[in-house]
């Protein structure tokens, strides 16, 4: 039997930074993951976008903290994670989209975000070669950016190791012992792990883990495919998001990484539910058509590789963060809806702060000011809200 202060299930986008932040505060932390190494669930599939320009206060706060961590990781700890504050550019080619963005803009500004409307000329300066025909402009948030998920994952793993976190890879949670709405222990393979606090950071498999503890978690993974091109000299700066839908796809987004590759991802229509990680023949012709319609210059850019990952979706597109009634010491940090990479570091720091400040089922934020985060993202919420920029 092993004893820890905290056992985290999942060494991914959320679990890695959380484990580091907890260990930094003196806690004895174990991270258990069924993969052979860290970040091999959906972290490796993330494309690397990081933005605070959401429409909900909790996510805005979480991501502002993430950006602070990402952008200072190199200066503070010496890890180059290829962070680049290239900004996010949401483009509008019709009046309806423009209207949506403009009305949201007011809320985002009110939340203190640095974001503004940019006219077509400004769009062309940020992204030379983008289709000008019909372009009405867009919203641009210069403080958002992107980083390498692989390098960031390795950086957090390194920091966690140095802070004393114990990692257990190729290790499955077989069984969870719950007594009186409290998790007593988890069986990792044939070994029992005990702790005061357990954390579900299992990403796309979070609902399976919850089920082992005897409760339902409304997290349903759906599949998205992504790709990366060869590197070329920088020709565009921001992450570009096109939220228009057509018959076979929803929104899509792409950016040019610090090292020159263009990374892209698209939301299929209809959504593909499930956990299939294997690539399909439909993705490339579909996403490339939309990329070239928007950005014809990329016709000569060579696609290097594609992959498929999952968005652990919740019914309303917001994460689930908090202590469930059915297992009061089993903190859920799940349902990131494809934004685990950008929320992980900020959420990790917020959770570590609240835990250090006495956070628990009855008072999740402890003595901190993060109460609104737990309120908005509560597992007991109604899930009927719809987020525009998901």
């Amino acid at each position: 039997m092993k004893h820890f202060d905290v056992v985290i299930v999942g060494a991914g986008s959320v679990g890695l930074p959380l484990s580091w932040q907890l260990a930094q505060r003196g806690l004895n932390v174990a991270v258990v993951d069924e993969e052979a190494s860290w970040g091999r669930g959906q972290n490796r599939a993330a494309i690397g976008g990081v933005r605070a320009t959401h429409s909900d206060a909790a996510k805005i706060r979480i991501c502002l903290e993430s950006i602070e961590i990402f952008s200072t990781l190199e200066a503070q700890y010496g890890f180059d994670i290829e962070w680049r504050p290239g900004g996010y550019l949401y483009v509008a080619y019709d009046a309806e989209t423009e209207g949506q963005f403009r009305s949201l803009l007011e809320k985002q500004k009110a939340a203190g975000l640095h974001i503004d409307w940019v006219n077509p000329d400004a769009v062309a300066r940020l992204a030379p070669g983008i289709l000008m025909d019909g372009l009405r402009g867009g919203t641009f948030s210069p403080e958002d950016g992107y980083a390498s998920p692989l390098m960031a994952g390795s950086a957090f793993h390194s920091l966690a190791l140095d802070a004393g976190v114990s990692f257990f890879f190729n290790s499955r949670i077989e069984r969870i012992r719950v007594e009186d709405s409290k998790v007593i222990s988890m069986w990792v393979g044939d070994e029992e792990f005990r702790a005061d606090l357990f954390v579900n950071a299992a990403g796309a498999k979070a609902s399976d883990i919850a089920k082992l503890a005897g409760f339902e978690l409304p997290v349903f993974p759906d599949c998205h495919e992504a790709g990366v091109t060869e590197p070329v000299e920088r020709f565009m700066e921001p992450m570009i998001v096109d939220i228009r839908s057509d018959a076979e796809s929803g929104n899509y987004y792409f950016y040019q990484a610090a090292t020159g590759q263009v990374v892209f991802c698209i939301t299929p229509r209809p959504q593909i539910w499930g956990r299939d990680k294997d690539s399909t023949s439909t993705f490339l012709p579909l996403v490339v058509r939309r990329m070239l319609e928007l950005y014809p210059r990329m016709r000569n850019l060579r696609v290097r590789r594609t992959w498929r990952g999952m968005y652990p979706m919740t019914p309303d597109g917001l994460p689930i963060v908090g202590y469930p009634d059915a297992a009061v010491n089993f903190l859920q940090a799940t349902g990131m809806c494809g934004q685990g990479f950008m929320m992980g570091p900020g959420l990790g720091r917020i959770l570590a702060r609240t835990i250090a400040a006495g956070g628990c089922h009855d008072r999740p934020a402890g003595t901190t000011e993060y109460g609104f985060v737990f309120e908005e993202l509560s597992i007991n919420r109604s899930f009927d809200h719809v987020e525009l920029l998901k």
């Binding site: 052979a36 490796r44 091109t229 399909t280 319609e293 016709r299 000569n300």
Partner: protein, 709 residues
């Protein structure tokens, strides 16, 4: 123009009527032959540096010559392309790529996006010996078969083989040259109307929905829907990492064959070969035929790993083979100019004080092949019905691959529910043809008599028998020990007519004819596969089985056996030498000496292997990889992607064979390490091609003129 062109080749015909084109390299006018890759034209013109890496400015050039590694990427008409796969064209603008390429501002809107797909019963990846044999068999059974190959011609690596094949005539065209076998196999497949072969058609992706993507003609994207798959994608050359291995001039032996035998480029002046397997041995032979010197073959193991008869042949031509030694370093300004070799201990570690330096301009790496089995692994993961054949299944000779293809075809048909069975002899034949060499025997000394008789210089059991089948009087038989073509041939009886058929057919050039013509003189007939533009009376150095000098003698007669494209030279020699003489030295000994002469020992400046590049695409050193593995306690190859190892243009094809070394140096047993995940694309494809935008949109300065299809 003719600076580095092969003007005359003993086996290949040098077509005089090839069309010359003029193109521009960094503004300088250069001529090449229409249709040959840009890389070959440039190397023929003496240009070996194609790009300077964006990370550290390192010079890069041709490496795999196979469209796989991307090291030869250049700016061609403004667009980054692989010089080894892009045919040169009149007026083309080729530029050295310095750093990252700039995306050309071709901003006109997309006018068409089209998806093209076809359906077939069986999709065969690779039109080498295995793929073609499988296609022929499946075509015979009536299946609709589509074969896709990335090269301009069917035949796989056979099209690079100017030498005669081992094996048996009945089973696999032994004694016929590879280039000719390729044509025969292609004909066997395409005589079935249901078989189609697509060339210039690399498969770039295999997908879960039982479809594959082809980068057709390197211009457009074709999706193939199929029921079952044959993976006959061949093999890739294993890499060898040492300081300087990333210099232009260090290339795979297969890449060298492509330059020399396909494109007739005399790419180098004097080379050194690492590895004594059949690939390394045959590369030496190809070099000599092309008029390129071979300083030596260096083998880290304590024995020759290829066929003995092959090795002896190469030694007789004047190429020394050094065991327990290897290359430790290459040096030169932007290109190989010197190679250091050293003796190694049983753990292949260089021994101090043993290094010598050779004046060579290329180092050929021939340290083995590894199967291209990614498509098979993916198919199995996706639950797609698939079989592998040829090198993709097991590294062996092309002869064995033919039988692998045939048996794979029948296995697939059975999986598809056809009531059929594998011909009883096929699997046995395949296994015999794939055999490693067996035992060696000492042959008894032959005393020449007044009548002709053959003398055999093959002493090691290998799957080969054409001498026995070609003899018109049945005077050559196999000594029946195993009862297969592994058995050694011997002279049975005295009916030899001196026709020379056996001498001309032997792939090992290991048969001579002798007869006594006077008290102290005898005649010996030797095979000759080099330039024969000399007169009777020309003197040559004759050597024994292992290349040791015996005597210098004059040619008294020469004739060509046209069917084998081989000359037979007759010499008059001392009678006691006649049956010891096994061949003719081709290159002078001076070419094979290290700098400073025979004892020329040079102390290489110590360069730690760790500081040599591990990942050529991203310029990551072995040290960086080892430190990362140690720091993170890595047990998963995929994690090296955080260092970008495996994320480059080659998709890990080169470094995946080298990462084991990094784990070993970090003290981790590679058996405990999670293997890398393979994902599409297998080769980079421009976005315009993926939506079949049309030729006119794919770039090129005369793009508009070519017009849309």
């Amino acid at each position: 123009m003719h600076m580095n062109r092969i003007q005359q080749h003993p086996v290949l015909s040098v077509q005089k009527e090839r069309v010359r084109v003029t193109f521009y390299f960094d503004g300088e006018e250069i001529s090449g032959f229409e249709g040959e890759p840009v890389a070959s034209s440039l190397i023929a013109a003496g240009h070996h540096v194609f790009s300077y890496h964006h990370r550290d400015g390192a010079a890069q050039g041709l490496f795999c010559a196979n469209g796989q590694c991307s090291q030869c990427t250049m700016l061609i008409d403004g667009v980054p392309k692989k010089a080894c796969m892009t045919p040169v064209a009149e007026g083309m603008d080729v530029r050295t790529l310095k750093g990252l390429p700039q995306l050309p501002a071709q901003d006109e809107p997309l006018v068409q996006a089209e998806r093209r797909s076809i359906r077939t019963d069986i999709f065969v990846i690779g039109a080498g010996p295995a793929g073609l044999a499988a296609a022929a068999e499946l075509g015979e059974m009536g299946y609709q078969v589509l074969v896709a190959d990335d090269k301009p011609r069917a035949g796989g690596k056979l099209v690079l083989q100017t030498h005669k094949f081992f094996g048996s005539e009945a089973d696999c065209y032994a004694g016929t040259r590879g280039i000719d076998i390729a044509r025969i196999l292609e004909g066997e497949a395409t005589r079935h109307p249901s078989v189609t072969i697509l060339t210039n058609a690399p498969v770039v992706g295999l997908y879960k929905d039982r479809k594959a993507g082809i980068f057709l003609n390197y211009e457009s994207y074709l999706i193939v829907e199929f029921t079952a798959l044959v993976v006959a994608a061949g093999a890739r050359e294993k890499a060898l990492q040492f300081p300087g291995w990333d210099l232009p001039g260090v290339i795979g032996a297969g890449a060298f064959q492509t330059l020399v035998n396909r494109d007739l480029v005399k790419a180098y002046r004097n080379i050194l070969i690492v590895g004594s397997g059949n690939v390394g041995l045959i590369a030496a032979y190809h070099a000599l035929q092309a008029g390129i010197g071979v300083a030596g073959i260096f083998e880290a193991a304590g024995r020759i790993t290829g066929y003995q008869v092959h090795a002896d042949k190469i030694r007789r031509m004047g190429v020394p083979i050094f065991l327990n030694s290897t290359v430790v370093r290459a040096e030169g300004a932007e290109k190989v100019e010197r190679a250091y070799v050293a003796a190694v201990d049983e753990k292949f570690q260089p021994l101090p004080g043993t290094s010598r330096v050779y004046d060579v301009d290329a180092i050929l790496i021939a340290v083995g092949l590894s199967p291209c089995n990614e498509f098979l692994e993916q198919a199995q993961r996706y639950g797609i019905m698939a079989v592998a054949a040829g090198d993709a299944a097991e590294i062996a000779e092309a002869s064995s691959a033919i039988y692998g293809g045939k048996t794979a075809a029948v296995r697939l048909a059975c999986m598809l529910g056809k009531k059929t069975a594998i011909h009883v002899d096929w699997e046995t034949t395949r296994q015999v043809l794939a055999s490693r060499p067996g035992d060696s025997y000492e042959r008894s000394f032959v005393i020449p008599g007044p009548e002709w008789r053959p003398v055999f210089f093959c002493a090691e059991e290998i799957p080969c028998n054409p001498c026995a089948t070609v003899c018109p009087v049945g005077a050559i038989q196999l000594k029946s020990l195993r009862g297969t073509i592994m058995d050694l041939p011997y002279f049975a009886g005295n009916r030899c007519t001196g026709c020379g058929s056996c001498v001309a057919v032997c792939p090992g050039l290991a048969i001579t004819l002798v007869r006594r013509v006077s008290d102290d003189k005898a005649q010996v007939v030797l095979p000759w596969e080099f330039n024969a533009d000399f007169d009777i009376g020309a003197e040559m150095d004759l050597v024994d089985q292992k290349g040791g000098f015996i005597e210098r003698a004059a040619v008294v007669a020469k004739r060509k056996v046209a069917a084998r494209n081989t000359w037979l030279l007759t010499f008059k020699v001392n009678v006691e030498h006649a049956s010891k003489i096994a061949g003719i030295r081709v290159q002078p000994e001076a070419l094979t000496l290290p700098l400073g002469g025979e004892q020329g020992e040079v102390q290489a400046e110590a360069v730690d292997d760790l500081d040599a590049v591990l990942c050529r695409c991203e310029r990551i050193t072995l040290r960086q990889a080892v430190e990362f593995i140690k720091r993170h306690n890595v047990r998963d190859v995929n994690q090296l992607k955080a260092l970008r190892v495996g994320m480059g243009a080659c998709g890990g094809k080169t470094c995946s064979q080298l990462v084991a070394k990094a784990f070993a140096l970090a003290g981790i047993d590679f058996a405990d390490v999670e293997p890398p995940t393979h994902r599409p694309l297998f080769m980079e494809v421009p976005m315009g091609a993926l939506v079949n935008e049309g030729l006119h949109k794919l770039g090129g300065k005369d793009a508009g003129a070519r017009g849309a299809p």
